[in-house]
Symmetry: C2
DNA sequence: TTTATTTACGAAACCGGTTTCGTACAGGAC
DNA sequence: GTCCTGTACGAAACCGGTTTCGTAAATAAA
């Protein structure tokens, strides 16, 4: 590590201008206390010397950092990639910096990240919780410190703050309904988690649709995915072979769709004739899969954007606190050939 | 914005323990000057009061922030998503924080981001430059301030620092070679940029392969993509209709592959019979496209990881400076049905 | 002309850590 | 007993901004 070049400080500006430090500081922040002429002189020198205020000195004094922390389970998923874009779009516009952390679906890791935030490193937090997360003490503690936090997509219902979600229940209902209408009498539900709010709601929507179609729910039709991709895959193979053809499958998250394509290929099952597939997915390539995948596409960009917008509003508006509310941005179903 | 809860400070610890601030500070950093007994008392209280040192105070004094800035052109591309994972893996291990910025392929935006870094906000920088970037004064200025920077994938050759790249020339050569071997006598090159180093190298590899196969290069076979997706697409349609069947296409970046699938569908051209396609791509779904896409897959995770590892080494090792060298991590070609 | 304001600026405290330097005291060497 | 050394700690400077408060001079009000 080389020693840094010493940056130009506000003190140097003051000395060169024959002004006090406080005057320079106020001039830079365009305070009404300072005359136009002085402001001009200061800004000229700022320009000339390429002065960049030390953000850490400023953050220390003002107790805010213009930085938001974003906690994601992972970033491979195209949902989160798009969400980052949405977040960045408002951060950029509002002059915020974005710190990114990945929990890798681990509660422990998520907890560490959130605990670090208690230090005041970030002004506010956006989070989509880890698959493993089943409690929320870490988040409560953060909120007690008055650090605003908004959830997006993977929320914790019990925490009283703003949550940006999509219509998981309705989307899953619609998806299941679609499969049934297409003639798949038996519908498998590929479950990502048994505890995550989104998973539960999607499962409920699925169940309700079965009920409305007088199909009795069987827990045997819910296939749970763990973190062990290999084991999951062999479970999937076993399940598929045990069933007769003509079943529908609802993949509750994007990452479960491709394994199904693979399994069908391996078992020589035809999509959509033998297996109908619909998946929650934001894959751009969905339309070009073999066959094209029917998807429930979430408004990922908009969700990220909305989450960031709420957070920034909470940070900047004195009389605005994050209400305990759900903002629902609906998903859309795009029917393609994987479901007839 | 609500006023923050006042955090526990090192001063409070000192008062409660009847010690001086400096003693507490040293105890926390496990200084040899402090007795084991005192350290114990201090750490007990730290634990009890849940003391979190203010990172900004620390950064101000020590002049480093344990933060690295990552500048990406975009994050929709799965290459960059995977690269982020690689970067995060070393950041997490080494205790660094990751600030993410998107240039959206704009030079101006990239310049602003880099200029902000002159403030000392980050200890070091990882960057994959924007498509528009054709000069490097902004980066030179940063390097003059002794802020280490390493490029990955989209590098600027003229800047004397470490660059993590893949074997663009060879990969494009191999890809073209493959198309020709498969019987495609005419090969289109879908170009993403005329200035980006990776694009130039890939084009060179393509040309060399043509040359080695005694096919004369025609600039008419290089199709340039702008930022105007619609116009690009209609250009692509026009080009494809103007050619006879049996042409090979090398898409030099991932985002150019799907439009080709779409165009072929629209023009009722069959892949691979009428059009053979190979693309630089890190899409997980490549194997399940219709037909499965032959790809040049870049080691995105490893590249991000290597870039971060070099940067951290430069930050932590006193006698290590980032050499002006290229670290090449080879890509692999995965042959699938889109090229026979 | 006197008093009240306003304008424009400076001194100094402050944010919360880190680091330098000084020192009291204990123990060992001579 | 004197000198030296090492141990364990504290006072204070420092990082580079922001903010409060005070004040001299200029202007307005009475």
């Amino acid at each position: 590590m080389k020693e840094k070049v010493t940056n130009v400080t506000i003190k140097m500006l003051a000395n060169q201008l024959g002004l006090s430090i406080s005057t320079v500081s106020k001039a830079i922040s365009d305070s009404h206390e300072i005359s136009a002429a002085t402001k001009q002189r200061v800004n000229d020198l700022v320009e000339k010397l390429n002065y960049k205020p030390n953000p850490y000195a400023s953050s220390l004094r003002t107790r805010n950092s213009k930085t938001i922390g974003v906690v994601l389970p992972e970033v491979a998923d195209s949902f989160f990639a798009q969400a980052i874009n949405g977040i960045e779009s408002v951060a950029e516009e509002k002059g915020y910096h974005v710190l990114i952390y990945l929990s890798h679906e681990s509660f422990e890791r998520e907890e560490q990240i959130i605990k670090d935030f208690e230090s005041g490193r970030v002004d506010g937090v956006l989070i989509s919780v880890a698959k493993e997360t089943e409690q929320h003490k870490h988040i409560d503690t953060l909120l007690e410190k008055k650090i605003p936090l908004v959830f997006f997509d993977r929320v914790i219902d019990e925490v009283a703050t703003t949550k940006i979600i999509t219509d998981d229940y309705e989307a899953a209902y619609t998806a299941t309904e679609h499969l049934i209408k297409q003639g798949y009498k038996q519908v498998l539900f590929l479950s990502f988690s048994q505890t995550l709010s989104i998973s539960c709601k999607r499962l409920e929507g699925y169940k309700k649709s079965l009920y409305d179609n007088t199909i009795k729910f069987s827990s045997g039709n819910v296939l749970r995915f763990s973190n062990d991709a290999k084991k999951d895959y062999s479970n999937l193979l076993r399940k598929l072979t045990s069933l007769k053809k003509g079943i529908g499958v609802l993949a509750s998250v994007e990452k479960l769709a491709l394994p199904l394509y693979q399994a069908c290929e391996e078992l020589q099952l035809r999509i959509p004739q033998d297996v109908g597939l619909i998946s929650f997915s934001n894959l751009d390539s969905a339309a070009f899969l073999h066959p094209p995948l029917t998807t429930i596409t979430q408004p990922a960009f908009e969700m990220g954007k909305a989450a960031a917008a709420f957070l920034v509003k909470a940070l900047e508006r004195k009389n605005f606190e994050l209400a305990d509310e759900e903002i629902v941005i609906p998903s859309v179903m795009i029917v393609r050939k994987s479901t007839l």
